[in-house]
């Protein structure tokens, strides 16, 4: 889609919560967002379809400590992880927590993920004593965790992620620099661990690209690793197993830090010059020349989250300036574009509007 020019984005509305930080942004539906803030609140926003954003609900004291992560369960449900040691399932219609998920060690939860296929919540824990790891709850039977893996990390588990299609494949990334891949059908951790990747530096986020495993560190080093079989006794270096090592991405991606790794893009920022951009990524190529600037960013403050709304050609961002902002793509009127397909009887109407549909790659 970025054959000739990068689409231009302009800032639409912003909602401000200074001096709080906006930590996360997730979409319950295309027009309903949920955000967690440093004041221990969850905010629900109505965003319509344009450059709009309006808070409609505030849930206060979601946890007795920092909210460290949010995951979407369904259109009306989100699950939060708290540094108070519990995770909570929130119903945004009733504006309350319907389920509380606890674990015996009660260690602070630092990260969270939800698998729809397994109806399972996974959370990463903070190092307490010698133990740091992952706890899993099946929402059909949430009273006790179904799994607790505590031997695979030596430090805070900052990120957990499920495989996109295999509900029993889970990743955990920690400040010890390791990413561990588990088969969650196995309770004995010795056997549940399928693979360990030593990324060499504290993990900011990890996840799957298909079956490959990506890892981004807190010092902005990025690599993509291949899945391996622990029973494989092959004696030769298989060139196909070589990771793609991007190294320190600050210079090649023209940024001071990475906001997030998304599906089909990376979001990067620079505080010194108040910049924020989305760079398209396809396969393992990052198309720096097609970066999309979000002018003004969040001033010189760190941007903590970025959410793409493809359908409405919008981007939402949240930062340490306390703002949640919406950015709208400028329409390209009158340009013929055969690459995107139009569906149904809206064709005539769409032809008139001629707004280029936004696709990250």
């Amino acid at each position: 889609m970025f054959s000739n020019k990068s689409p231009k984005f302009t800032r639409g509305k912003s909602v401000g919560y200074s001096p709080e930080y906006v930590y996360t942004l997730h979409a319950l539906t295309p027009s309903r967002l949920v955000s967690s803030l440093s004041d221990r609140s969850l905010r629900i926003f109505d965003t319509g379809s344009g450059a709009n954003i309006t808070e409609i609900t505030k849930l206060s004291n979601v946890h007795n400590s920092n909210t460290s992560g949010v995951s979407i369960v369904d259109n009306n449900t989100a699950v939060t992880a708290g540094e108070d040691g519990v995770a909570k399932v929130w119903d945004v219609r009733q504006n309350k927590a319907t389920t509380e998920l606890s674990h015996s060690a009660n260690s602070p939860l630092l990260s969270i993920a939800y698998s729809k296929l397994a109806n399972t919540v996974a959370a990463g824990t903070e190092l307490v004593g010698q133990d740091a790891g992952v706890v899993l709850w099946d929402l059909r039977n949430p009273r006790k965790p179904v799994r607790e893996y505590i031997d695979s990390h030596n430090d805070d588990v900052t990120c957990v992620a499920f495989h996109p299609t295999n509900p029993h494949s889970l990743l955990s990334g920690a400040t010890d620099g390791l990413v561990t891949r588990y088969n969650t059908t196995i309770s004995d951790e010795d056997d549940a661990v399928m693979q360990v990747v030593n990324h060499g530096a504290s993990i900011h986020c990890t996840g799957f690209f298909g079956n490959d495993i990506y890892a981004l560190s807190h010092m902005e080093t990025f690599s993509i690793y291949r899945p391996t079989d622990k029973d494989d006794e092959a004696e030769e270096d298989n060139p196909e197993n070589q990771p793609t090592v991007f190294g320190d991405v600050r210079e090649p991606w023209g940024c001071e830090y990475v906001v997030d790794i998304g599906k089909g893009y990376v979001a990067v920022g620079s505080n010194s010059d108040a910049k924020l951009s989305m760079i398209p990524m396809k396969g393992e190529k990052v198309f720096v020349q097609h970066r999309i600037e979000l002018p003004g960013a969040h001033g010189e403050e760190v941007v903590r989250c970025l959410l793409v709304d493809e359908r409405n050609s919008r981007i939402f961002t949240g930062g340490e300036d306390g703002n949640v902002s919406v950015w709208q793509m400028e329409g390209h009127l009158g340009e013929a574009d055969s690459e995107w397909s139009e569906v149904g009887n809206d064709r005539q109407k769409r032809k008139k509007q001629r707004e280029k549909r936004f696709k990250p790659y």
């Binding site: 440093s38 695979s152 620099g177 390791l178 360990v196 807190h218 197993n241 505080n271 760190v302």
Partner: protein, 217 residues
Amino acid sequence: MSKITVAGVRGSVSELLDYSENTKKRNFLETVELQVGLKNYDTQRDKRFSGTVKLPQVPRPNMTICVFGDAHDVDRAKHIGVDAMSVDDLKKLNKNKKLIKKLAKKYNAFIASEVLIKQVPRLLGPQLSKAGKFPTPVSHADDLYGKITEVKSTIKFQLKKVLCLAVAVGNVGMDEDQLVTQIMIASNFLVSLLKKHWQNVGSLVIKSSMGPSFRIY
């Protein structure tokens, strides 16, 4: 623009080395630490400040390494005089938790042949991870000696709930120039990762294990 200069740092390094060499010489090799005091940083809300920095010289020379190697790498390791274990040696441990714990304690760090590293969870279980000593991979194309040096030269840093952190940058056996370089590299790298760079730095101090502190910023 870096807020510390080579000339400035050199002065403090000189004093530090003088103290450890002349004023109060110890009977062990003192480590030199860089202590960073942060400001305008919120440990509760701000992003993690954590990572590793690779220095030109090995800061702590007495690190012990063991190589888990295939035949090729066990050979290479023996040539360099580094302890090595083959797949068979690892299998002999029979996943015995006590033995593996002992192994983990015996060495500061591990390096494993790339072809072998995927088997580590099967051969040894999760204990090396728990000990914070999961191996670093080395491929046949890599220079093993270079990789070992790299592992020895890489130091971790992490800010945990308090506004100061310390990293080992060298030892009192290094000469002035080397130590200055180590300190400049470590300082500038750490500062580059802070969101407000030098505005987040309250103080920089260098200190030998048993000696006094010398402020460089």
